[in-house]
Amino acid sequence: MTEPFSEQVNIATEADIVTARQIGRNMARQLGFGTIMQSRIATTISELARNIYLYAGSGTIFIEQVERDSRIGLRITAADTGPGIADMRKAMEDGYSTSGGLGAGLPGVKRMMDEFFLESVPGKGTRVIVVKWRNEAGGGDPD
């Protein structure tokens, strides 16, 4: 186990999305997540960072180790000062995203993670915080 750590990536280009994924994947590996969960974490970061890139233009992804009740997890915070989400209840519905509702999108991210928090103020920006716990029942690879 290393010391608790965190990293921040500024998102402004598609290359930044790749960087954030890479950092998240590495941190997930260091924290002992299985390979599938590493990939799910990278996918989650990808979705959040792409939302920033596509809808807000720029913002940040903050990735950090968290501990609670002797559990260890990874927390990802995506924040931007973009236009915000007008109808948040709709954004959390399957089938809302342009891809016809298949694939990740915010509901998909919520299902892959253990905790999910979304906050958005139209005209002010959006913040999404997700946490994935290690060894949480059903959270790791199947065994």
Partner: protein, 333 residues
């Protein structure tokens, strides 16, 4: 079964197939697929499982091993689609259970018994096309010799029509105390419907009072499918005349009252258009054809007549009921 057992089972299928056992391991693979689904193994986990099982067969080249990492990334997107099934399914089942409750509430609004007055025999069949009905009927007994009845069809079917039906029930209930005749009641209901319903919705209705002392039926019609009057003496069916705009079409519509007197053996048949509206093969059923069916079943008790007609007509359209079906039969004994 543990994940390790699954991996071993998977590797065995791969080995069997490699050794030329052909279709049997492929069948085994399909069964394993069902097991994995039942255990909620996600598509990305399956891709990973495949890679691991393959390692058990022999040295896997590095570029093949690495390729599973790419497959896993793609599969995560499929996994998210897969995980959404549960959410769709549960939302749908939630709605269906709500509809079941609402449909029971609707049933409770309908009269539970038919009127029983001396000398007149009443039969009824009412079957919704979907779970909830947009046809409405009501019977109110005033005393031992007189009762009122309503038969109505709300535009459309399903939930919106059912909502409208429950309004209608209360609007009629609210009239209880007032001393209005059939035409007055329709005039009043027209205003209620007109005021409260979307302009695209309307209701057709026949409202009538039967007086078993004199066997006189006094009724008014609001754009409703005409009923039939069967004259025993002539063994003939007549359309039950009546005119008036459907409820909700225009404010201030008025209605005219008409009367018929039943002689012994005469019948009145009231119905909604769901009775006639059916496809027989590629043709539509005609009202004249219905008369010949009615003719074939006349002379039995009213309920028996209604039942038989329902079953004969259902068979005719191969058990499809495209619209709500309601028929009321009054027969002077």
């Amino acid at each position: 079964m543990t994940y390790d057992d699954l991996e071993e089972q998977y590797a065995r299928l791969l080995r069997d197939y490699r050794e030329g056992k052909g279709e049997a391991p492929l069948y085994g693979a399909q069964q394993l697929g069902k097991q994995l689904l039942a255990r909620n193994v996600s598509p990305e986990e399956l891709a990973d499982l495949h890679g691991r099982a393959l390692e058990r067969l022999g040295p896997v080249p590095e570029f093949v091993r690495e390729s599973f990492q790419i497959l896993t990334e793609i599969m995560i997107e499929y996994g998210n689609a897969y995980r959404s099934i549960h959410s769709w399914r549960s939302r749908h089942q939630q709605l269906e259970s709500e509809i079941a409750v609402a449909s029971a509430m609707q049933q409770a609004l309908l009269p539970q018994r038919l009127p029983s007055c001396p000398g007149v025999d009443v039969g009824l069949v009412s079957v919704p096309a979907k779970q909830m009905s947009g046809d409405y009927y009501d019977f109110v007994c005033h005393d031992s010799h007189r009762f009122s009845l309503a038969i109505a069809d709300i535009t459309g079917k399903g939930i919106p029509a059912a909502m409208c039906m429950s309004m209608l029930k209360y609007a009629i209930d609210g009239l209880g105390e007032m001393e209005l005749g059939p035409a007055g009641i329709l005039r009043h209901l027209n205003n209620v419907v007109e005021r409260n319903l979307d302009p695209s919705m309307f209701v057709t209705m026949v409202y009538g009072r039967y007086d078993a002392d004199v066997h006189r039926f006094c009724y008014a019609t609001a754009g409703h499918e005409p009923g039939f009057l069967y004259r025993r003496a002539e063994d003939r069916f007549y359309d039950l005349e009546g005119r008036g705009a459907a409820l909700g079409i225009a404010p201030g519509s008025t209605y005219e009252e008409r009367e018929v007197e039943l002689e012994p053996g005469d019948c009145l048949i009231l119905l909604t258009d769901g009775v006639t509206e059916r496809k027989v093969g590629r043709a539509y059923f005609q009202r004249e054809e219905l008369v010949s069916y009615l003719q074939g079943e006349v002379g039995v008790p009213a309920q028996e007549m209604a039942n038989r007609l329902y079953h004969r007509l259902l068979l005719l359209s191969q058990f499809e009921l495209p619209d709500d079906y309601t028929m009321i039969v009054l027969r002077r004994t």
